[in-house]
């Protein structure tokens, strides 16, 4: 028998060992899987963590109060037909994907960091370019846009552009495709959970940058992921209905 018979097994084992990312000195590794604290993430008292921690922009679904609309933004919201909403077709694009209570997976990397949301039995992954390379001139607009990231002390800052725009919440308040989002991720004081906020700067629709959401994410490495499949609604998507399932 070959004296190297153990080699394939060892090499196979090496492939399973995660390689630690080369993170900047002093930066904490918080790669992992998290679940949102609380099922609903919008303000108005639904978000437990938000309610007890931060002073922030507050707004309610269905109301424009507290939302710094300019005329075009208000018109885009009021003219939007809800049956055009991509979520009826099981599509969740950014920033909505980050605010719908989906499990979150973060994989920190030296060149690319991945931020993924578990939905419809799979991870939907955003790539965050950590080397500062900007979007190319001909970059198109996509569900997750184009993201760059950098570290500010212990906080991961992610800037995102080139999204499609569209409804951000279930009441269909809109963002434009020209919006720029700034997310921050940092470790909670307990050293285990993750804190995140998302600000939007969208001069086409809003008079000033403001905070869309703040959220605590609970470390949940072993929590089973839902295997629920999302099936597009025939009532809205295909009026008349496909009754075979």
């Amino acid at each position: 028998m070959s004296p190297f018979r153990w080699l394939p097994a060892c090499l196979g084992g090496l492939l399973l060992v995660p390689v630690a990312a080369q993170l900047p000195p002093g930066v904490s590794e918080f790669s992992g899987i998290y679940r949102p604290a609380g099922l609903a993430v919008q303000p108005c008292g639904y978000n437990e963590w938000l309610r007890r921690s931060f002073e922030t922009d507050r707004f309610c679904l269905g109301s424009d109060e507290g939302f710094p609309f300019i005329e075009d933004g208000l018109a885009a919201w009021r003219d939007y037909s809800p049956i055009e909403d991509p979520v009826l077709r099981c599509i969740e694009s950014f920033p909505r994907s980050a605010m719908r209570g989906r499990p979150l997976r973060v994989v920190l990397g030296e060149n690319v960091t991945e931020i993924a949301y578990w939905f419809n039995r799979q991870w939907h992954t955003r790539e965050v370019h950590m080397n500062g390379s900007p979007a190319t001139a001909d970059a198109g607009h996509t569900d997750f846009g184009y993201s760059t990231g950098h570290w500010s002390g212990d906080t991961l800052v992610v800037e995102t552009t080139h999204t499609r725009g569209g409804p951000m919440f279930n009441d269909h308040k809109q963002s434009s495709p020209e919006a720029r989002y700034t997310e921050r991720f940092w470790i909670a004081p307990d050293g285990r959970n993750l804190l995140m906020d998302i600000a939007i700067d969208d001069p086409l629709y809003y008079s000033r940058p403001f905070l869309l959401n703040r959220q605590e994410w609970i470390a949940a490495p072993d929590r089973p992921l839902s295997q629920t499949e999302c099936t597009p609604s025939s009532i809205w998507v295909e009026p008349g209905g496909d009754d075979e399932e």
Binding site: R35, L39, A40, L61, G62, S81, P82, I83, D85, V87, L88, R100, G101, R102, P103, N170, D171, H172, P224, S226, Q227, T228, E229, C230, T231, S233, S234, I235, W236, P239, G240, G241, D242, D243, E244, E245
Partner: protein
């Protein structure tokens, strides 16, 4: 039509066990949040004439899907023509937690439904209450009534009174009707014909589906 593999159903058919339902709820917890806002799509107010419309007909299609199950019902309208209504409901995960299974509603079933009308279509709505008639004469029917546990709203008083006296469907988790205020649920009641007639007489002017 009815899948005979399911055998007799309604009150004779054990529904999900409490343990199975608890497991289902745990696994589905992150999916239980509303997929979309009802009030955006439907007249989500029972006090509005379009918020609680009663239709009667025969089920012609069923989609037991997430995040919203769908039913299609052939309804004869005032001019004698048949409309095909599309009814949206809770997620299939949620319906199972209320005791539904694949045999709860099937093509060919006769039903009475209270719906909140769609804001976008004339023959579409959101399921509120549903009575699924038994498949044979004298068979037990299943009545699913919307209810909010612990609610202080007067609109649920009659439903609370009814659900506390009528037999719940076999296999469903006992509801804590007076507990902390929770989300809307569909309470499943198993009713034979005399019981159904008695409730119609008693609640006709208080619970819309008995009109």
């Amino acid at each position: 039509m009815r899948n005979e593999l399911h055998g007799p159903r309604h009150a004779d058919t054990p529904l999900l066990t409490p343990l199975a339902i608890a497991s289902l709820l745990l696994c589905a917890a992150s999916e239980l949040a509303a997929h979309h806002s009802d009030s955006v799509y439907f007249v989500d107010d029972r006090g509005d004439p379009r918020g609680a419309v009663k239709i009667e007909g025969t089920v012609s299609g069923v989609r037991l899907i997430n995040p919203h199950a769908e039913f299609f019902v052939e309804v004869v309208n005032e001019t004698g023509e048949t409309d095909r209504w599309a009814i949206e409901s809770d997620s299939w995960n949620e319906l199972q937690s209320y005791g539904w299974d694949e045999a709860t509603i099937e093509v060919g079933d006769r039903v009475e439904i209270i719906v909140s009308m769609s804001r976008f279509h004339d023959t579409a709505g959101r399921l509120r209450d549903i009575l699924v008639y038994g498949s044979a004469p004298n068979a037990v029917s299943q009545l699913f009534l919307e209810f909010i546990p612990g609610s202080e709203s007067g609109q649920w008083e009659s439903v609370l009174e009814l659900v506390q006296q009528a037999p719940q469907c076999e296999g469903t988790v006992p509801y804590d009707f007076l507990g902390e205020r929770g989300e809307e649920i569909l309470v499943c009641l198993a009713l034979d014909e005399p019981a159904l007639d008695a409730l119609r007489a008693e609640y006709a002017d208080r619970i819309r589906i008995f009109d």
